[in-house]
């Protein structure tokens, strides 16, 4: 464990961010959201919530001394996200996870015309994070299913937006302008890098992107992994 700590502690010395969310801000945000989630009558037994990180995220990140709040790997992992956004130089953007990636969201809001997807992330963002310091539009996932008139230069989404229906990732891709970039976060699992990879839904999502005629697709396995698809 000490090796990993030293590894990431030194890696972050090589990075300079514009707008990463601090660990302190993340803890404050996560505590507020977790308190709200715990007030709901949600079944939190293991059989009910399983190991899906979308479900335990705020619980874990609200704990001051948890591994992920004391490990610089957390701070390092966001570097590929900001890089992806800056190099795409987008004017119009769509984002689906403002409560998880709030630092990146702030950067996107400052430098582009921002649209947020109508999902629980938006609900948590509006109620526990948003300081009304920028404007944004909203978009229904039903509109993505039906094909949007408006196109986006850059889409920041999670694989969890489409993992229940892998074909939906093609609809997200269709929302890109020509030359646009889709950056999909949290695209790695242990199984994805083993022989059984081809039987996973994570693999299927990547195949859907690869099979699009005018796509180029890249996968960065560091952190929780990031997949980029560019409309060429």
């Amino acid at each position: 464990m000490q090796y990993e700590y030293d590894y990431f502690a030194n890696l972050i010395k090589l990075i300079k961010y514009i707008d990463i969310e601090s660990v302190e801000d993340s803890i404050v945000k996560s505590k507020k959201i977790n308190e709200y989630l715990e007030s709901l009558s949600i079944d939190k037994r293991k059989i009910a919530v399983g190991m899906d990180f979308m479900i335990w995220y705020f619980d874990v990140f609200s704990k001051d001394t948890h591994f992920w709040n004391t490990n610089p790997a957390y701070f390092y992992a966001a570097n590929t996200h900001e890089f992806g956004f800056l190099t795409a130089k987008p004017k119009t953007t769509l984002m689906t996870l403002p409560s998880f990636n709030t630092g990146l969201l702030n950067l996107m809001a400052k430098r582009s015309e921002l649209t947020l997807l109508n999902n629980y992330q938006l609900h948590l963002f509006e109620n526990f994070i948003y300081k009304k310091d920028f404007d944004y539009k909203t978009l229904l996932i039903q509109e993505i299913e039906n094909g949007t008139e408006k196109k986006y230069d850059f889409i920041c989404m999670s694989i969890h937006d489409v993992i229940h229906d892998p074909a939906l990732v093609v609809k997200f891709f269709d929302c890109l302008t020509e030359g646009g970039t889709l950056m999909m976060l949290y695209t790695g699992t242990d199984q994805l890098y083993k022989k059984e990879s081809i039987f996973t839904d994570f693999f299927e999502v990547h195949q859907k992107l690869i099979n699009i005629k005018n796509s180029s697709v890249y996968h960065n396995p560091t952190g929780a992994a990031v997949t980029y698809a560019v409309k060429v």
Partner: protein, 97 residues
């Protein structure tokens, strides 16, 4: 601004699909618990995971086993996630925070 009703409409449509897969009827959604749904999913995708992981069975590289195992992971994971999102949307409607 977040529209919980429209979010819930989408989530319910996805949940109806998964309920159909495990042999349950969305019309009876109010009578189901997550335990009922997950148990149905487990029975649908039976794979000897415990036996393989404890090395009682040597199927580690068996394609059929790996297929069944990942179908099970996918099905159960998706049901749990959609169920959780449904609870969040219902909570937003109920609390209107």
């Amino acid at each position: 601004m977040y529209d919980a009703e429209k979010d819930l409409n989408y989530i319910n449509r996805q949940l109806a699909y998964y309920l159909y897969i495990v042999g349950l009827d969305y019309e009876n959604i109010d009578f189901y618990t997550i335990d009922i749904i997950i148990n149905r999913a487990r029975n649908l995708t039976q794979a000897p995971i415990d036996e393989v992981e404890s090395n009682k069975l040597n199927y580690h590289d068996n394609d059929l086993y790996l297929f069944l195992k990942n179908q099970r992971i996918s099905l159960i994971g998706n049901i749990r996630r959609i169920w959780y999102m449904r609870q969040l949307a219902l909570g937003a409607i109920k609390n209107a925070v």
